[in-house]
């Protein structure tokens, strides 16, 4: 199965009496990188979990092209790549073992070739046999990004992908995002590192108290435009 668009229509999610998302509507197309910005606790991770089919919305719909999460099932999940705030890696296993395990779970062909390419992208060929527990945060992050992209997903969900990366790794991830755009992926990325993603993304939206607002393109840096939206929301109460 495949899809070329991601559509949220009036998506709301509550946890008990707390409202995490309120009537979120958004459309993303293939080959587009969308930044999902917002302060801590704004609902970004909840929206990513819903998009990843790990959480159902309380109301509203999420469509992956013509499919819903229920209709798409396992085949749909196989087209989604998720990098979470936690890295989804087994610390006791080596870099190569982690990638090989997930490649086999995803039933990918040519596992050895893919794992080799992923290790090269992560710059970890020389540490392939070392347990992940001995890696620095940046090395784990690089490996986790490659784990999320191992199965060449159509929809890529990245939660704070630049955490712990040095300048060289940040630049490499920027190039990787560009490659994903060219490959026709739909990329949804959350970050607080606005300077880094400024210029990498196609557009940005902001979540605040569970409500979504577009950050209009225009003059000024992404940080300035973000602050102007935050200031306007604070003024509106």
């Amino acid at each position: 199965m495949d899809f070329t668009s991601l559509t949220f229509h009036d998506v709301s999610r509550t946890f008990g009496r707390r409202r995490a998302l309120h009537r979120v509507t958004l459309e993303c197309a293939a080959g587009e990188i969308v930044a999902l910005l917002g302060p801590n606790g704004a609902g970004k991770s909840t929206l990513l979990s819903i998009t990843a089919t790990l959480l159902a919305p309380s109301s509203g719909t999420v469509r992956y092209g013509a499919y819903s999460a229920e209709a798409g099932g396992a085949a749909l999940r196989g087209r989604i790549g998720l990098l979470g705030h936690d890295l989804y890696l087994y610390p006791e296993l080596s870099a190569e073992e982690n990638l090989t395990f997930f490649a086999r779970v995803y039933r990918l062909p040519a596992v050895a070739t893919r794992v080799e390419a992923a290790l090269a992208h992560a710059g970890l060929e020389h540490r392939r046999h070392d347990p992940v527990v001995g890696f620095s945060r940046g090395m784990r992050q690089r490996l986790a990004v490659e784990r999320a992209l191992l199965h060449e997903p159509r929809l890529v969900l990245l939660d704070e992908p630049f955490t712990g990366l040095d300048d060289a790794a940040t630049a490499a991830l920027g190039r990787r995002l560009g490659g994903l755009r060219e490959a026709g992926c739909i990329v949804l990325v959350t970050t607080h590192d606005l300077e880094t993603i400024d210029g990498l993304i196609d557009r940005a939206v902001m979540l605040h108290n569970g409500r979504l607002e577009a950050i209009a393109p225009g003059r000024g840096s992404l940080r300035e435009r973000y602050r102007s939206v935050v200031g306007r929301q604070a003024h509106d109460g």
Binding site: A52, T53, L54, L55, A56, A74, A75, R77, G78, I80, L82, G84, D86, L87, Y88, L89, Y90, P91, E92, L93, E97, F101, F102, R104, V105, Y106, R107, P131, R147
Partner: protein, 227 residues
Amino acid sequence: MGSFVETVWLVVRKDLLIEFRSREILYTTLFFAVSCVLVFAFGFVREGRAVEDAAAGSLWIAIAFSGTLALGRAFERERQSETLRALMMAPIDRPALYVGKLVGVLLLLAAVEAIVVPLVALMFQAPLLSHPFLMLGLLASGTIGFAAVGTLFAAMLVRARSRDVLLPVLLYPITIPVIIAGVRGTAVLLQAEVDVPMARAWLSMLVFFDVVFVTLALWTFEPVMTE
């Protein structure tokens, strides 16, 4: 079906590889089970004679308590780096993930039982291996019933803050029938005059519990894990 079995195998192999490297669950579970048996042996054995049915009770309490420890730790590993979410995202039959975790726990408990059963036989002077196939059947079916419910609950509670407290609170009331059937079936085998038909009856009851618990767990695993 082939992909289901392959997923089960991948999860089991991964769990065993991690356990082989850390030996964390095996050592803690084994230490706990052996400690239980030793304490009960000092309490219930006087001048080389054990209180009636104490061996059966001690054996199953050791299995249940150490099993609870193993279940909690097996899922704690998946929680630490949220790898359970990554597995839930994979295009696999989610019940295969449950079965894989269940088989991993069962293999660990089998290793514990391989030490604990002879230890109980020795400490309580109990002829646990006089009917080896029946005893093996009781142990296998009782452990499957206990671990089937425990694996489901441990997975459900993986993100709960007080999971270590909640797991036994939820698990023991539901698995009490399994533990009782295990204790009674084992006790019947340890009597002076062994009542084989009664032991078979308890074994049948355990198999019935296994079928019910495993079926319910396979049915409910995906819905409870995605909400």
